[in-house]
């Protein structure tokens, strides 16, 4: 390929109409409390992984809602299930099960398996 000295980055725009919501459906079926999240960020402020990497449960829940699978695949395995997020959540979201379901979904996607429980 010819090197023009610059590259074109992928579009940052989220195309909500075409993005797949399969991950949201997968997580929501097992853990409906994902709908309770109001993106306050208490979980990610309590999180050790979030303080040293760009892992953020607040953002991951939004990524799942918008169908941005790459964000989940890239960062969800940084969680070590300490559960501080669950303690911190003001709305009682079952954060650990959400992360576990996200990891399960991510594993299935990486293994080219169908997203089914």
């Amino acid at each position: 390929m010819i090197d023009f000295g610059y590259s074109i980055k992928a579009d940052r725009q989220i195309n909500f109409d075409t993005n797949s919501k399969r991950m949201l459906e997968f997580v929501r079926t097992a853990e409906p409390s994902i709908d309770w999240c109001m993106s306050c960020g208490t979980c990610s402020s309590a999180c050790t992984a979030a303080s040293i990497t760009d892992y953020s449960l607040r953002r991951l829940i939004l990524s799942v809602r918008r169908g941005i699978e790459s964000d989940v695949l890239n960062t969800v395995f940084r969680c070590r299930f300490c559960g501080k997020c669950a303690n911190a959540c003001p709305r009682g979201v079952n954060t650990r099960n959400i992360i576990y379901m996200m990891q399960t979904a991510a594993t299935k996607i990486l293994n080219h398996e169908t997203l089914m429980h």
Binding site: I14, N15, D17, W36, M38, L62, R65, R66, I68
Partner: protein
Amino acid sequence: MEAAANLSRMGHTVTLIEKSSATGGRLNQWHALFPSRISPRPLLERLKSEISGNVNVILDAEVTGIEKNDDGYVVDMANNRMITADAILLTSGFDIFEAEKKEEYGYGIYENVITSVDLERIFNTGQPLLTVQGRKPSRIGFIHCVGSRDEKAGNFHCSKVCCVTAVKQAIEVKELIPSAEVFLFYMDLRMYGRHFEELYKDAQFKHGIQFIRARLSEAFENEDGTVQIRIEDTLLARPLKMSLDLLVLMVGIQAPKKKGNIIDLVGIQRDTDGFPKLDDPYGMPFRTGIPGIYCAGGITGPKTIDETLTEARAVASEIDAYLTGMPSFSNFESIVIGL
């Protein structure tokens, strides 16, 4: 009506002048009240029955001038009608932002863009909620703060009641069309009142309504009549586009228009937000600075029904004090609280 009924009960002769053909104002337009979602009809009936026979009601009357003379005030109306009064209470309410002014949102241009007032009207008719093409909408979006917190729209203030109204209407839409996806696009969610947060929680927990923090810059129409919106999903810091079958604009509350409004007719000063300037906004939030002239309800800013009714009773007691020469409670000067 509430103030009139209370003043009448205190023994005063009360005349209620109404511009339209029915008393009750905007309450007549609403289908259900937040946060309980009850119908406003029983309340309207109670208010009407309280004034019935006790208050002289003049309908379809437009006030053209108010003058002060030695005996009090002379209120002139169109068609050479006139009454005199010792005290005047202005309760002519607020204006609703005209969504056409926010041209980039497409109201009046794109057929599937409606306002929250239109939606309430559709609920009132009991007809199914359909797109202009006659389709059952599968994705509906609500845009908060249309004409509120927007200096370019001429209103920098918050209209206060639209957040909870959007949540209420979203739930109603979801109940009408359970299969629909419903999205609310907000800047801040101001669930300030009692039980408002519960309604917001219900919207998420029970109805799966989704909230996206964003402010719409511009809406477009697709060939099939759906509405394309482009926003920034600000919590992800990424732009987002999606198509909607129906776009509902949460139109804000604004000060009554300047030209020929009764506020200016009687010479009440306007405050920075356009609403009447109050000389004692904490102690007497209905006193105008002109002796004998009071304001209550939506005329002094966005208010809920219960706030308006409470204020009506409070202003009635203050007007009674004024008329009977009793010391006023204003500015806390003459208050005596139990020793």
